[in-house]
């Protein structure tokens, strides 16, 4: 029962972060919220019993966030 409550909370937080990524006007903030989304997905994969996928998602989430932040160097940070 507790597992179900935690999983439901994580899923709701996942949807919340996704809507935040779509709504936010600052692209750097969107990249950082994407990192939070990735961490939430890691916890969900781990609870579903696949630590291998969770580990891959954790490492690739960090690396892709670094890519986004570095690629942001030569583009406008604020979208209209």
């Amino acid at each position: 029962m507790q597992i179900l409550i935690i999983e439901a909370a994580l899923l709701l937080f996942l949807i919340f972060t996704t809507v935040c990524i779509l709504c936010v006007k600052d692209i750097l903030a969107a990249a950082i919220i994407y990192c939070a989304f990735s961490f939430c997905a890691v916890l969900l994969y781990f609870m579903m019993g696949s630590p291998d996928v969770a580990f891959t998602e954790a490492v690739i989430g960090v690396v892709s966030t670094i890519y986004f932040v570095v690629a942001l160097k030569n583009m406008n940070r604020w979208c209209k």
Binding site: P51, D52, A54, F55, T56, V59, I60, V62, V63, I66, Y67, V70, A71, K73, N74
Partner: protein, 146 residues
């Protein structure tokens, strides 16, 4: 690392995080048969360590690997994978048949473990160097456009 860089937070976090990340990547590679992990994860973790040192200390970092060398090493990793695959063909086996690897081993499962470890080492080197090369390409383009 006797040279100080930036503030004390960056300096201390570099000294703590980067060696731990690199050693943990090697642990994930060699312990991948018994626990979650393997070649791809180990390569991404090692690349994350080198990317961290690159982000903190710039191009003069201690663990930095330039883009040209990274492309060559990615090819070397693919070559290790292909060599492990083609080597049993010359000793009477099929492609990727670890039982026919020409290494001295007492029992068959030792040969299997050795072949899988060689494959994982090739995948690790290829993934690590490809991630470093993509980062190098992105930063180079950013530098040119400035």
């Amino acid at each position: 690392m006797t040279k100080r860089f930036g503030g004390i937070v960056l300096d201390i976090s570099f000294r703590v995080l980067v060696p731990f990340t690199l050693v943990y990547g090697i642990y994930i590679l060699t312990h991948g048969e018994f626990s979650p992990g393997g070649g791809f994860q180990a390569g991404a973790l090692l690349a994350a360590g080198i990317v961290l040192s690159r982000l903190i200390q710039g191009r003069s970092a201690g663990f930095n690997i330039s883009g040209e060398h990274a492309v060559i090493w990615a090819g070397v990793g693919t070559f290790i994978y292909a060599l492990t695959g083609f080597l049993p063909l010359f000793f009477g086996g099929n492609f990727l048949d670890y039982s026919f690897l020409p290494f001295p081993a007492e029992e068959l499962h030792e040969l299997h473990a050795m072949g899988i470890l060689l494959i994982e080492i090739g995948v690790t080197i290829c993934v690590m160097m490809t991630i470093i090369d993509i980062l190098d390409a992105v930063t180079e383009r950013a530098d040119i456009d400035d």
